[in-house]
């Protein structure tokens, strides 16, 4: 068994037991990364950083000074500022931007001993569900439909992250989730991905998309690996006012797939038209698996679910339109020269630097915040957001965790979805938890008829990542999902 096919827990334990050196892990991954350029998963490869961290880990092991992630190389989504390494958020407007600072989350991972394999491709400014909006070209999913060589999307926006784990060119990665950007690609790629409660992970140093929704999380092959990574990433950060001043739970140590006494909520509003039969079948199967683990299924109602997507597509673009105003060509990143006035420079720079989807959302956001429309759109959306939160609060009086499908479809082909609204529908199941700031996770449940992975989605109560992880583990154990994409790259 090659090192790249191991889980983080296996790598960690094997390395600690002296079965292999950290340097061997890093070298094997560096080689795999270098050989997978066709996937376009990495925007920057940093093999030297991976080796340096590995050597430090090997020395630490000899000195008996191991840290939680010593010896583990990771991929970092390009939304996280990395000191001295290009950070572009998938956008031309940040081409060549090299921060002099390290995001709190990636810094936490480094402090925990992890190395960095490189920066992972993503939808531009995390706006997209297919990775097709990246200025550096789409990531190609390692998965293919049975008997087809059509290039598929890995989902988005953390598409490079998901593809990297699925293709075993990183044992684990960081992602960010604003409205499904960890969970939908995790489902498409047949891996696990968790977004914790809003505020668990510091947003400091993560390029902002929609501040009230953005949350970092972990993606890996297994539920356990997600727990290991998230524990290292999370924690209070005084540099982020919205960060939660709470200790980080020992999620890994408390993993248990015994769900006796737990109630699993099945929201009736998530049975929507047009969802493939495979997905609804998997959902029913998921319910059975959780029952088998000791849980009781209860039907719940989240009555404002149908307003979640429109609400999200008002709030997220509104915040984004303001958050992205700083990319103005004045201080860093792209500047288009040769124009007369400051306003012309702004217009030319932003016209050149931003892609179509980013421009669309900036315009939507600008519109919903403008005088005369603010109350009708933005204020209204904030009110609906409160109702959606209340829906969940009420539901969690009846249940401990909610089970739904992660996405309404399996991975689709690159270029197949051209209508933005159809694209936005990808996140229909993911967005409500984002609006409510709740922890949520996607766990692979099986393959559809075309041989593509499908995910099951678990939503937990505020701060209760543990129950989400435990339910995820129960599914993982029962699903026995071991499928890996056949290597074609």
């Amino acid at each position: 068994m090659s090192l790249t096919s191991k889980t983080i827990a296996e790598l960690r334990d094997g390395f600690r037991a002296g079965e292999f050196k950290a340097r061997e892990i890093a070298e094997e991954y560096n080689a795999a990364v270098a050989a997978a350029k066709l996937l376009n998963a990495y925007t920057v490869e940093t093999p030297d950083e991976a080796l340096a961290a590995a050597d430090a880990a090997d020395s630490a092991r000899l000195g008996g000074d191991l840290k939680p992630l010593s010896g583990i190389p990771l991929g970092i989504k390009d939304l996280f500022a990395t000191n001295g390494v290009d950070t572009t958020a998938g956008s031309r407007i940040l081409e060549g931007f090299r921060p002099t600072y390290e995001s709190t989350v990636s810094g936490n991972l480094r402090k925990a001993g992890a190395g960095m394999l490189g920066k992972l491709n993503m939808d531009e400014f995390a706006m997209g569900s297919s990775n097709e909006t990246s200025a550096w070209g789409p990531v190609i999913s390692p998965w293919r439909r049975k008997g087809s060589n059509v290039g598929l999307t890995p989902g988005g926006s953390s598409g490079g992250s998901a593809a990297a784990v699925a293709a075993e060119i990183a044992p684990g990665v960081t992602g960010t989730d604003t409205g499904g950007s960890i969970r939908q690609p995790a489902a498409f790629a047949g891996i696990c991905g968790i977004k914790p409660t809003y505020g668990r992970c510091s947003r400091w140093g993560i390029v902002s998309f929609a501040s009230s929704l953005d949350q970092a999380g972990s993606m890996a092959k297994t539920v356990r690996d997600c727990a290991i990574l998230l524990e290292a990433m999370a924690g209070f950060d005084p540099k982020d006012s919205t960060s939660l001043d709470l200790p980080v739970p020992q999620w890994e140590a408390n993993l248990s797939s015994d769900l006796k006494g737990k109630h699993v909520g099945i929201p009736k509003e998530y049975r929507i038209d047009g969802v493939p039969e495979d997905i609804n079948k998997l959902w029913d199967q998921g319910i059975e698996w959780l029952k088998d683990a000791g849980a009781t299924a209860v039907e719940i109602s989240l009555p404002h679910t149908k307003y979640a997507l429109p609400t999200y597509y008002i709030i997220a673009p509104a915040e984004a339109s303001s958050n992205l105003a700083r990319y103005d060509g004045v201080r860093y990143g792209l500047r288009v020269e040769g124009v007369k006035t400051l306003d012309d420079m702004y217009a030319a720079t932003r016209a050149d630097g931003f892609g179509a989807e980013v421009k669309r959302r900036i315009m939507i956001g600008t519109y919903v915040l403008s005088a005369g429309f603010y109350d009708a759109y933005f204020t209204k959306a904030q009110k609906v957001r409160t109702l959606i939160k209340q829906d969940f609060a009420k539901a969690f009086e009846q249940c401990d965790v909610i089970l739904t499908p992660t996405a309404p479809s399996a991975a689709f082909g690159i270029g197949e979805t051209t209508d933005p609204l159809a694209m936005y529908l990808n996140d229909v199941f993911a967005v409500p938890a984002s609006l409510a700031g709740l922890p949520a996770m996607s766990v692979p449940g099986g393959l559809d008829g075309q041989g593509l992975p499908l995910g099951l989605h678990l939503i937990g109560n505020e701060l209760d990542e543990q129950t989400v992880l435990n339910a995820g583990l129960a599914i993982e154990e029962r699903a026995g999902f071991t499928a890996r994409p056949e290597k074609w790259w």
Binding site: G205, S322, A371, Y374
Partner: protein, 491 residues
């Protein structure tokens, strides 16, 4: 002098007009660090040396409120008797400009930190009853922008972000002022209170305090007219000039058949006029919305109590206390206008001098000397302790008032204490009747003709003899004794 109570009117062709004025004062908060970053705030540093990653709006940077800036704004609100909102929130004001790195200013539109309050102004220093209350609508805190420099390069403008993110309080008045003088009095009073509280240094030349002046005109008692807003006026004098000029301009405009446009104007201090900057149609749509990077600001009672305890005695209370000590209303008013002056005078009072005499001496002698020397109270070469000693030497008859003036001049030059000067220069007043008598005899002998005139009934010559005797004794004779002895010899 004009009667302060008489309303200010602009005489137009169609009759008298009244001016309506409201001020939005931007006051830089005294704090070592910026509103949302740890960068320093000192004035006059080299460009771009006080800029954090947050101030430069680098990708992924987040604001964290600086508690001290909030405390200062709350203290200001308390000093203005205003309502403190225990729950407030920051909003983003979105617009593009090269001095605004984030592309938005973090401000407070919907839920400001401080609500309604008021300022009582005295329109005439000499008339205690000439007071007027000017309403405060709100105070909110916000970030300052950076500064553009257009004179550094032939074809480019440079940006200095030192000021970017510095905390400002925007103090919004009600449209309660009705004359240039009222606007001036309000701004002076506001500045005085902020400086007492220590929440703003009030330094208008350095831009620490500047005002947006809203002016409209109407026939007395009519509905409010359309207002113009003249931005960034940076002295009391200029604010008064803006009101004066805008009122006249608007009256002339209306009377010649025009209408006042709601617009932003700029003041040209060289020409003393305002000119249009942008009209309402060109006004930005700032797309205000709650800043999602920041949680609502919630203040607890303990914090407010700490703020309350830290408010010093304010000018009005101090003025009233001085008056109760027997100090004249005028003296009390001028002694309390500036926090440095009041501090200096409080220290003098603490030495047990006679308050009334001390106030007269301070206002007449010390203010006069400082004025002449172009020095502020903070720069006064004479300390309250030294002044107290000088006043005591006069009070106990050690030196005469005339000698005291000489001693004071020497104190100003040397900084020495009065007793040292008096001793070293032999200026102690003499009550030696023998010496006085001897000099009186010489004066009378030398002025026999005048003695005759005096005895013939020209009583006013008595002062002449006193003066001659004092002069002969180099001012050191006890004037009371000189009087007594002269009367004994002449009458």
């Amino acid at each position: 002098m004009a009667d302060a109570a008489a309303p200010f009117r602009i005489k137009g062709e169609t009759g008298e007009w009244e001016v309506v004025v409201g001020l939005e004062v931007h006051a830089q908060v005294v704090s070592n660090a910026k509103l949302f970053s740890g960068a320093a705030t000192a004035f006059g540093a080299e460009p771009n040396t006080q800029v954090s990653l947050v101030d430069a709006a680098m990708p992924g940077m987040l604001p964290v409120p600086n508690r001290e800036c909030i405390r200062q704004a709350v203290r200001t609100g308390l000093a203005l008797g205003a309502k403190i909102n225990k729950w407030s929130r920051f909003d983003r004001k979105n617009y593009f400009y090269a001095d605004l790195p984030q592309g938005y200013q973090i401000s407070q539109l919907y839920h400001p930190l401080v609500g309604e309050g008021e300022v009582e102004v005295l329109l005439d220093d000499k008339d205690e009853t000439s007071t007027k209350r000017i309403g405060i609508e709100r105070i909110h805190v916000e970030q300052d922008a950076g500064k553009l420099m257009h004179d550094q390069h032939p074809t480019m403008s440079y940006v200095d972000l030192n000021r970017s993110g510095v905390a400002l309080m925007e103090i919004v008045s009600r449209p309660d002022m009705r004359s240039p003088a009222e606007a001036g009095a309000y701004l002076r009073k506001l500045r005085s209170i902020l400086r007492y509280v220590g929440s703003c240094d009030g330094n208008m030349e350095e831009g620490s305090m500047r005002a947006d002046v809203n002016v409209s005109v109407r026939k007395p008692g009519a509905e409010f007219g359309t207002r113009t807003e003249t931005k960034n006026v940076n002295s009391v004098r200029f604010v008064m000039a803006v009101v004066e000029h805008e009122a006249k301009r608007q009256v002339e405009l209306i009377e010649s058949g025009g209408t006042v446009a709601q617009e932003t104007r700029l003041f040209d201090p060289d020409k003393g006029v305002t000119r249009s900057l942008r009209s309402k149609e060109d006004a930005h749509d700032y797309r205000y919305f709650p800043d999602p990077d920041l949680l609502p600001l919630e203040l607890d009672e303990a914090f407010l109590e700490d703020c309350r305890k830290s408010i010093p005695e304010l000018p009005d209370a101090k003025r009233k206390r001085y008056e109760l000590m027997g100090i004249s209303p005028y003296n009390a008013s001028v002694l309390t206008a500036e926090v440095e002056t009041a501090g200096w005078f409080d220290a003098l009072l603490a030495t047990d001098v006679d308050p009334k005499q001390a106030s007269n001496w301070t206002v007449a002698e010390l203010f006069g000397a400082l004025n002449r020397r172009g020095e502020s109270m903070a720069e006064s070469p004479v300390s309250p302790a030294h002044a107290a000693e000088l006043l005591k030497l006069v009070a106990d008859g050690t030196i005469s008032g005339t000698i005291a003036k000489q001693v004071f001049e020497i104190m100003l030059e040397t900084g020495d204490p009065a007793s040292k000067i008096v001793d070293e220069r032999g200026l102690r007043q003499t009550s030696d009747t023998g010496a006085i008598d001897a000099e009186i005899d010489k004066v009378l002998a030398a002025n026999a003709d005048k003695v005759a005139e005096y005895k013939g009934g020209k009583q006013q010559l008595f002062g002449f003899f006193v003066g001659q005797t004092m002069k002969a004794m180099q001012g050191k004779a006890n004037p009371q004794l000189v009087n007594e002895r002269l009367r004994a010899k002449l009458d």
